[in-house]
Every structure is written in structure tokens, then in C-alpha cells.
């Protein structure tokens, strides 16, 4: 294969690839070293090998995908990439990127910045005074930050799930929503990570997770699983961006131009490039699903692998995976509704998308109820003293108002609104999704806190209520997410240009062909038509 012209971008891309492979090598070495160290300390070393094998395989695969993109997409571009055409329909999608923000957009961004600035002040205040400024105390050692951590990590799954599953399953209606979903996945992950730092007593010592990491600890699994997942999500957001960056490369000015040039890998829209990219995307889409499942299971196992009442349950891993999909799809619906209003994308993100996502949400709501009943029934019938104390506190005690709001928001509201075609409108799905997002946040809260308020021994346990610092930082997380999402729409088209075009030009015919192939009468050469032939 002939390599293309070697401008500066070629060398930067090559350096990036070397870096990615280097990272993979370092991670392999790290796991081997940790396994050896754990063995030396007469500790469990098998988790290091098992977890390490999985993580290293994923990283090697990511690096291979990028190498493939570098060779097969970048390598097939010859000379100066041409100006790719953008038609009238697509022009509307690029407004967010190419036109300056309206005053409304600026005002929203300013307001969000104020909240973020306040949250950063609160963070500084907490760092300089210690966690005494939170509502935490013995024995409620984890509360709002961990709730938010679980919540945000969960939301990210909605993004990857909708995008990856629908891509694999050739769900054509996905086309306008994949990019928005993938962006949600990446950005909320950052918020989840931030909450871990908020919760740590000594965030300055976080490097010890790497130089003394004990892979027997589920928390360390979390560290490596989420890190892998972040890389995977970024890759999965980035790959489908390549053609769009190629289309926008010559239309942006200033500092964005070299960046788009660098990251578009000399995209010319040639058929060979398209095929290579599609292949890379589908491999990543298949990979990201098990990684996401592992991440959310591990988040659940952090709780389930202790012996604490109502945490120590086999259902927690699957429950967290399901809850992640559930809350993620709901959050995606909310984000889509905001995007379509704020960026006037009503023609692209249409009621049919809300209709289908709403049905998905309804199915997930039913599954969620089933999991919730399984969990509670097991505890109730088992009637183990300490477990039952937590359950009673949830169902009829101090957490009952929250718990019943959760049940209404997560099940009854979606059931009411989404089971009928008449109410499964944009507004109906948005209201149901808001209920689900709030309900799922409460679900995380009522997993984390009640167990700790009911310790096994009769320790004097106070009731937890969050302090203004915790609430401010929670508001800051949401504001930060909004702000980063606004910046994302400013930098990249939030509806994929090339996927929409491909849908119009190629897939409409393909889908018709596929449907025809399902049935005997549509096929040009079938046994049924044999008799009629002359």
C-alpha cells in the first residue's frame, strides 16, 4: 500500500499511534508487575491476571483499530484532500459549528459557567477543610458523591447502548441520534470520574492506585474498567466523526482548521475509505457493548462484594447494568429534546425517534420493575434481620417518600405515558424520561444510603442529609455537563452529516432490498416463481 503525502498531520498521527501502542504496552507491563507484586505479598494475584487480560485485549484492539484507520483511511488519501460538498439540508446541521452563538446560547452558557464556578469554589472549600463540610458522618461514609458517580456512569451506558446496538442491528432510525448519544456517553463519564475525586479524602494520593494498585479490590477493577471504557467511548465517538471533520475541514477558520485536518485523516469520501471506516466502526461498536456491561457490573459489585445488608446480593451487577441502560436512554431522550428545541433540529430529530426510544424505555421500565421486585422479594422472604431492617426503612421508613417517588417515576409514569400511542409523543416521552432520570437517581441514592444508616451492630446512626457543599457540587456536575455539551455542539455537528446522507442515499434502497428478501414473493428468483417462468 502506498502511503500518502507526508505533511505534518501524517507525523502527528503516526506519533499518536505510537503513543496508543505505547500505552497498551505500559498497561500490559503494569498488570504483569502488579500480578508479580501481589504474588510477592502472598496476596490474590489471579484477579490481576484475569482483569489484565481483558483490559489489555481491549486496549490492543483499540490500538489496532486506530492503526487500521491510519493505514486504510489515511493511507488511501492522495495529495491534498478535496473540498467535500455539503448540500442545503446538511447546511442546517452545520449551523451550530459554523455560525456564532445566539445571545440566548451565550446567556445559557454564562449561567452554566456561574454554577460551575460556584461548584469549583465549593470544591476548593472542601479540599481546604476536609470532608467535614459534607453531611457525611459515621456510619454514613458514602452518600451523594457516590450516588452521583453511579448515576453518571450509568447514564453513559444509554449513549453507547443506543448507538452501538442500533448500529449493529441496522436500526435505520438511529441515524440522527447516534452522535448525540455518543457525546452524552463521553461527557457524563467525565462527571462520574469527577465525583470520585470529590469523594476521596486524599485526592492528592490518587497515584497510589497505580503504584500500589491491589487488583483484589473491586474499587481497583472500577479504576481499570472505567479507564478502558473512557478510551473506548472516546474512540467510538471519534471514529464516526472522521467524515464530518473531512467535510468541515475547509469551512472552518482559525485554530479549528489544523485540528480538523489532523483528525480527519485526509478524508476524501472515497469508497475504499468508507468501507474501511465502516469496518472500524462496527468492530468498535461490537467491542463497546461488553465493555459497558463489565463497567456497570463492576460498579454494582463494588457494593455487592461487601457483606453489608442489601448490598451483598447477586442481583446488583445485572441490576446496575439494566439501570444504566434505563437511565441512559431516558437521559438521551431529554438531551435530544433540548437539542432539537435549542438548535432547531425538528426536521432531523423527529417524533418517530422519540416514539421508538419511548418504546425502548417502556420495555426497560418493565424489566426494571421485575429486577426491583426480585431484589426486594428475596430480602423480604429471606427475612434476615439486618437485611429486613434496610428494606423496611426503604418501603415504609425514612426513605419511603423517596422510594415511592422512585417507583412512580421509574415505572408508573412511563407505563402510563408510553404504553399508549396517543401519549407517546415528544412531550409524553420527555415527561416520562424526566420521571425516569429522577427516579433512577433516587434508586442509586436508596441503594447507597439506607444500608449505611442501618449497620448490623446497634451503632448510633444519624440520618444523613446533604450539606450545601454537596448540593452545590451536584449542581456543578450537571452544569458542567451542560456546558461541555454546548461546547461539543460548537465544535462538532451534533447530528452526523455523513450518516444522514448515507441513510438517504444508500440505506433507503438497502432496507427496501432487505425487506424484500424476507419474503418469497418479493425475491426475483424463488421457487414460487419457477412455474411462471417461460
Amino acid at each position: 500500500m502506498r502511503l500518502r503525502g507526508r505533511d505534518w498531520a501524517f507525523y502527528v498521527q503516526a506519533a499518536g499511534l505510537v503513543g496508543l501502542w505505547g500505552l497498551t504496552g505500559i498497561v500490559v507491563w503494569w498488570f504483569v508487575w502488579r500480578a508479580y507484586d501481589l504474588h510477592r505479598f502472598a496476596d490474590q494475584w489471579t484477579p490481576a491476571v484475569v482483569v489484565g487480560a481483558g483490559v489489555c485485549a481491549c486496549l490492543a484492539l483499540f490500538a489496532s483499530v486506530m492503526t487500521y484507520v491510519f493505514l486504510a483511511v489515511g493511507g488511501r488519501s492522495e495529495g491534498k484532500p478535496p473540498d467535500l460538498p455539503i448540500d442545503e439540508v446538511e447546511r442546517k446541521l452545520t449551523h451550530g459549528v459554523l455560525r456564532p452563538w445566539s445571545w440566548k446560547g451565550r446567556a445559557v452558557a454564562a449561567a452554566l459557567s456561574v454554577v460551575v464556578a460556584w461548584a469549583l469554589y465549593c470544591w476548593w472549600y472542601q479540599l481546604s477543610n476536609g470532608l467535614v463540610v459534607t453531611g457525611l458522618s459515621r456510619p454514613v461514609f458514602w452518600a451523594l458523591y457516590i450516588t452521583n458517580f453511579v448515576f453518571f456512569i450509568g447514564i453513559s451506558y444509554g449513549g453507547t447502548l443506543v448507538s452501538a446496538i442500533l448500529r449493529i442491528a441496522k436500526g435505520e432510525w438511529r441515524r440522527p441520534v447516534t452522535r448525540a448519544a455518543e457525546a452524552v456517553a463521553v461527557l457524563v463519564l467525565m462527571m462520574g470520574g469527577w465525583n470520585i475525586f470529590l469523594d476521596l479524602g486524599r485526592p492528592d494520593r490518587v497515584e497510589k492506585l497505580f503504584d500500589r494498585g491491589r487488583l483484589e479490590s473491586p474499587l481497583e477493577w472500577d479504576v481499570v474498567a472505567i479507564s478502558t471504557y473512557v478510551i473506548g467511548c472516546v474512540l467510538y465517538l471519534y471514529l464516526p466523526l472522521i467524515p464530518d471533520l473531512g467535510m468541515l475541514r475547509n469551512r472552518v477558520k482559525g485554530w479549528r482548521k489544523p485540528i480538523y485536518h489532523l483528525f480527519s485523516f485526509g478524508w476524501t469520501g472515497a469508497e475504499a475509505q468508507k468501507q474501511a471506516l465502516e469496518r472500524a466502526i462496527s468492530v468498535t461498536a461490537v467491542m463497546i457493548v461488553p465493555i459497558a456491561v463489565s463497567v456497570h457490573s463492576v460498579v454494582g459489585w463494588v457494593f455487592a462484594l461487601t457483606v453489608q445488608p442489601m448490598w451483598h446480593s447477586t442481583i446488583l451487577g445485572p441490576y446496575f447494568v439494566l439501570g444504566a441502560m434505563f437511565s441512559g436512554v431516558a437521559a438521551l431522550i431529554l438531551v435530544l429534546a433540548v437539542l432539537r428545541r435549542a438548535m432547531r433540529l425538528q426536521d432531523f430529530i423527529r417524533p418517530v425517534q422519540f416514539d421508538y426510544l419511548g418504546m425502548l424505555l417502556l420495555v426497560l421500565a418493565c424489566l426494571w420493575l421485575y429486577f426491583t421486585i426480585s431484589e426486594n422479594l428475596t430480602v423480604y422472604w429471606g427475612a434476615e434481620h439486618a437485611e429486613l431492617a434496610v428494606l423496611v426503612e426503604k418501603l415504609s421508613g425514612r426513605f419511603a417518600p423517596l422510594y415511592w417517588v422512585m417507583l412512580i417515576g421509574c415505572f408508573f409514569l412511563p407505563l402510563l405515558l408510553l404504553s399508549r400511542k396517543r401519549t407517546r409523543t415528544v412531550a409524553g416521552t420527555v415527561i416520562a424520561s424526566a420521571g425516569v432520570v429522577i427516579g433512577m437517581w433516587i434508586e442509586r441514592y436508596t441503594i447507597v444510603v439506607p444500608t449505611m444508616e442501618a449497620p448490623r451492630l446497634p451503632v448510633d446512626a444519624p440520618h444523613y442529609s446533604p450539606s450545601w457543599v454537596e448540593l452545590s457540587l451536584m449542581a456543578g456536575c450537571f452544569a458542567m455537563f451542560g456546558l461541555m455539551y454546548m461546547l461539543f455542539t460548537r465544535l462538532f455537528p451534533v447530528v452526523s452529516l455523513w450518516e444522514m446522507r448515507e441513510g438517504r442515499e444508500v440505506s433507503a434502497g438497502e432496507a427496501a432490498e432487505r425487506i424484500r428478501a424476507y419474503f418469497p414473493f418479493g425475491a426475483p428468483q424463488g421457487p414460487a416463481t419457477d412455474g411462471g417462468r417461460q
Partner: protein
Amino acid sequence: MSRWGMRIDLDRCTACGACAVACAQENNVPLGQPAKAFQHLVRWLELLPVKRGEYPRADVRVFPMPCQHCDKPPCTKVCPVYATYRSPEGLVPQIYPQCIGCRYCVNACPYTCKYYNWEDPQWPEPMERGLNPDVSIRTRGVTEKCNFCLHRLQKARDAAAIDGKELDPKDYRPACQVICPTEAIFLGDIDDPSGDVASAREDPRAMRLLEELGTEPKITYLKERGP
């Protein structure tokens, strides 16, 4: 090698609380202050009141609760950074400079025996001069707990080594044991069959807390004989 365990005879215990005071004094645990929330206090040894029966036949049994030093500790399993571990002698100490303050071990402990430093430790004016030089002071943001006065074990072992002898288990006595006026608390080698702790474990009055969880705690409580 010794495996250290403790027996606490509830029949002898008068719930005077001297062990809790001596423990705090010995291990540089900050004092409670009126302005400080009760739940932010650190108490390596707590007197846990366990209620029995209902009014009017209510009764309270007080358990002096140091760390249980489990043989299968749930806390060390979950530590991501080697800040806590089970030593070959069965002790479960905490390494303060290694701790990142994630509080996972605290939440994994079914005995609620681990404490977290919500803020920097403070002592009123003259108390600061009376700190124990053998025990490090913990900063805010780390977890701490009873370690059976590990420094006393080291001192006893050093003293024995100077005399060229093996450590006599009788020389290793934690602060709570030393102060206890009724000799309710006794620390010794579980594996020594002639020892007091080993025989206490065979006593019909012996019980261990939350034994059903399989943590194998090394503190043996001896229940009261009848009234």
C-alpha cells in the same frame, strides 16, 4: 508465630469506660469537643450498648468494641492501595500515609469499627504536649482504627531482643488491658493452648460478634453469668 487475640469478660466489665479513655490517650485520638458533631468523633474503642428486652424488663449490656481483628477481614480485601492488611501475626493495622481516603474498607466492615478523619485533629492547649511519641498523628482524609497498640508489641519485642530473649506474650499488653481495673480485657496468643485467650475461646460463655458472617473475629466475649 503468635496469633494475637483478645478476650473480654463481660461478667467482669463494669462499663467504667476507662479502656476507651486510655485508648484515646495512648493512640493520640483527638478529644471530643462541644462544637464537634458527635458522629465525627474518632473512637478506636467504643462502648457499644446493646439493648435487651423491652420496657419494663429492658436491660443494657455494654460491649467494649475495639477492632475485631478478623482472621478473614472484609476490610483488607477491598482496599485498593495496601493501606490495610492482615499481618502474619493476625493483626489488622492501617497504614496512614498509604491511605487515599476512599472509605471502602470502612463501609465493608460489618462491625463499624473503622473511623475516618473528617478534619485535621485538634487538641486543647495543654493536651497537645501530652501526645504519645510512639504513635503517629493522622491527617484529615485518612481512615484509622484500633491496631491492638501495635507499637507496644514492637517495644516489647525490642526490649526482649536487647536482653537476647524471645518475646514473652505477657509483656505485650495494649493500653485498654493495662488500665482495666477488673482485668476484663486480656490480650494473648490464641495458638498457645495453655494461654488465657485460647481457653476463653473454649469457655461455654464464649461468643464472638457476627460470627455468622465468616469473618472469624479474634475478640472473644465471655457472656455474663446469671444475675
